[in-house]
Symmetry: C2
Subunit: 256 residues, 2 copies
C-alpha cells in the first residue's frame, strides 16, 4: 500500500512544487517507486519534470471528474521509478464542477482506491489555496508535508493551515497527520530566515525537519530545462538538501 | 469616479500583496486618496498594514456576501489618505457560497457601484488563484496590474493569466485592460532575473513598466512590524522602487 503524502500550503510561492519534484526524484533515486500527482492548474510540477503539453491529453482533471483512471493518466518521466499524473488549466474548471458532484471531497481518494497502485510513495503537489483541489488531496493523503518559506507572511499562514488540517481530519479523513514541516529558501545572509526558523522550531519542535533547504539559484534555473534540480545540478546546495530531506523522511518512517 | 486596479497573478508568492501595500502607500503619499480591498483569505494586506484581528469584524467577506457596504467595512490605516477593507479566513467560505448566489461574478462590482466612493484609487489585492474571488476583482476593476517575479515558473503562468483576462473582458467586463506588468524580486546577481526581464519585455514591450522592483530583504521585514516598507524604511531600495512605480503609474495616466 503506497504512502500518500500531500505537499500543501495555501501561502503562495513557498516551494511546494520544487519540494514535490525534488523529493519525489530523491526518493526514486533511492530505489523507491514513486508517483507524483500534479493537482495545481498551473501545471508547474508537470513542466518541471519535462512533460510537454502534447503529453498532457489525460490529466488530473480527468481523474477527479471520473473520466480516466490514475493508471491511464500516468506518464513516465526522465527519472527511472518516477511517473507523473500531469495537470493543465482544465483543472481550474474542476474547482467549479466538483462543487455539485457527489462525494466532491473524495474524488481523488476514490481514484486512488479503485485500482491497485503498485508504488511506494504517491506525492500530491497542491495549488496555493484551501479550495476543493487541495481538499481532495488532503482527504486522499495519509499525511501532509508542509514547505515553509522563511518569511513573515508564510509564518502567519502556518496556524491557519494547521487548523484547516485538523478540521479535515475530523470531518473527512481521520488518518491525516502532519508528516513534517520543511524550511525552504533559507538565506544565511539575513536575520529574518533565522528568526522564522527559531519561531517555528519553538512552536512545533520535532515536527520541523532537521534538513533546511537553502536559497539556491540553481533550484530556480532547473525548471526552465524541464529537469529536477537533482538532474540539472546534482552537486548544488539545493539538490544536496533535498537528498538529505529524502533520507530524513525515510529515516523517520523507519524505512532506513 | 475612482480608478479601480486589481493586483492579480495566479502564480503564488510573486509580490502581489507587497505591491498592493506599497503602491497604495506611495499613491497616498503623493496626495491621492486610496482604498485597498484585501480579497485574499490569507489577509496578508491587512496584516501588512497593521490591522489587528479585532479590527476585522466587518471584512471583504461581508461585502461580497452582501451583508455590509464598503464604507462599513473600511478601516483607517496609519497612512493618511489610505483606508483598507480587511480580510480574514472567512473569505474561504465565500468561494463556495458565491457559487450559488445570483450575479456571483458581479458582487464586488455591485458593492463598488451602490455607494459613491470618494477615492481617487481603489486597489484590490487578489489571492493566488483564478477562482471566484479573483474573478470578482477582475469584473470590478478598470484594469489589472500584474506583478511578475523574475523566475521561470512565474513567466510560464503569464500567458495563462493574459488569456484569462481576455476571456473575462469578453464575457463580463468590456472595459478591463492590462494597466501594466511590474517585474519584482529582480536579483542583479543572477542571470535568470535578467533573462526573464528580457523575455517579458520582448513579448509585451511597453506594457512592462520601466520601474523594476529589486529583491530587498527590508521589503520582507516590514510586514512583521505591521508597516508598509515606505514607513519601515523609506530609503531602502525596495521603497524607492515603489515610489518610482507610483510615479510611473501616475505619469502613464497623464496625472503627473
Ligand atoms: N531553494 C530555493 N532556492 C531558490 N529558489 C527557489 C527555491 N525553491 C523554489 N525556488 C523558486 O521560487 C519560486 C517559488 O517556488 P515554487 O514554485 O516551488 O513554490 P510553490 O509553493 O509551488 O508556488 P505556488 O504557490 O505558485 O504553487 C519558483 O520560481 C522556484 O523556482
Ligand atoms: N522586492 C522584494 N524583495 C524581497 N522580498 C520580497 C519582495 N517582495 C515581496 N517579498 C517577500 O516575498 C514573499 C512573497 O511576496 P508576497 O506575499 O507579496 O507575494 P504574493 O504574490 O502576494 O503571495 P500570495 O500568492 O501568497 O498572495 C513575502 O514574504 C514578501 O515579504
Ligand atoms: Mg506550485
Ligand atoms: Mg498575497
Amino acid at each position: 500500500v503506497p504512502r500518500i503524502i500531500a505537499i500543501a500550503n495555501q501561502k503562495g510561492g513557498v516551494g511546494k512544487t520544487t519540494t514535490a519534484i525534488n523529493l519525489a526524484t530523491a526518493l526514486a533515486a533511492s530505489g523507491r517507486c514513486c508517483l507524483l500527482i500534479d493537482a495545481d492548474p498551473q501545471g508547474n510540477a508537470s513542466t518541471g519534470l519535462g512533460i510537454d503539453q502534447h503529453r498532457r491529453s489525460i490529466t488530473a482533471y480527468e481523474v477527479v471528474t471520473g473520466t480516466a483512471t490514475l493508471r491511464q493518466a500516468s506518464v513516465a518521466t526522465a527519472i527511472p521509478g518516477l511517473a507523473v499524473v500531469p495537470a493543465t488549466v482544465d483543472l481550474i474548471g474542476a474547482e467549479l464542477e466538483l462543487v455539485s458532484l457527489p462525494r466532491r471531497e473524495y474524488r481523488l481518494r476514490d481514484a486512488l482506491q479503485i485500482e491497485e497502485i503498485t508504488r511506494d510513495y504517491v506525492l500530491i503537489d497542491c495549488p496555493p489555496s484551501l479550495g476543493l483541489l487541495t481538499l481532495n488531496a488532503l482527504v486522499a493523503a495519509d499525511s501532509v508535508l508542509v514547505p515553509l518559506q522563511c518569511e513573515f507572511f508564510a509564518l502567519q499562514g502556518l496556524s491557519q493551515l494547521l487548523r484547516s488540517i485538523e478540521r479535515i481530519r475530523q470531518s473527512f479523513n481521520p488518518r491525516l497527520g502532519v508528516l513534517g514541516v520543511v524550511l525552504t529558501m533559507f538565506d544565511r545572509r539575513n536575520n529574518l530566515s533565522e528568526q522564522v526558523a527559531q519561531d517555528v522550531r519553538s512552536f512545533l519542535g520535532a515536527t520541523v525537519y532537521d534538513t533546511v533547504i537553502p536559497r539556491n539559484v540553481r533550484m530556480s534555473e532547473a525548471p526552465s530545462h524541464g529537469q529536477p534540480a537533482l538532474l540539472y545540478d546534482f552537486h548544488c546546495a539545493g539538490s544536496q538538501a533535498y537528498i538529505q530531506l529524502a533520507r530524513e523522511v525515510l529515516r523517520r518512517e523507519g524505512a532506513l
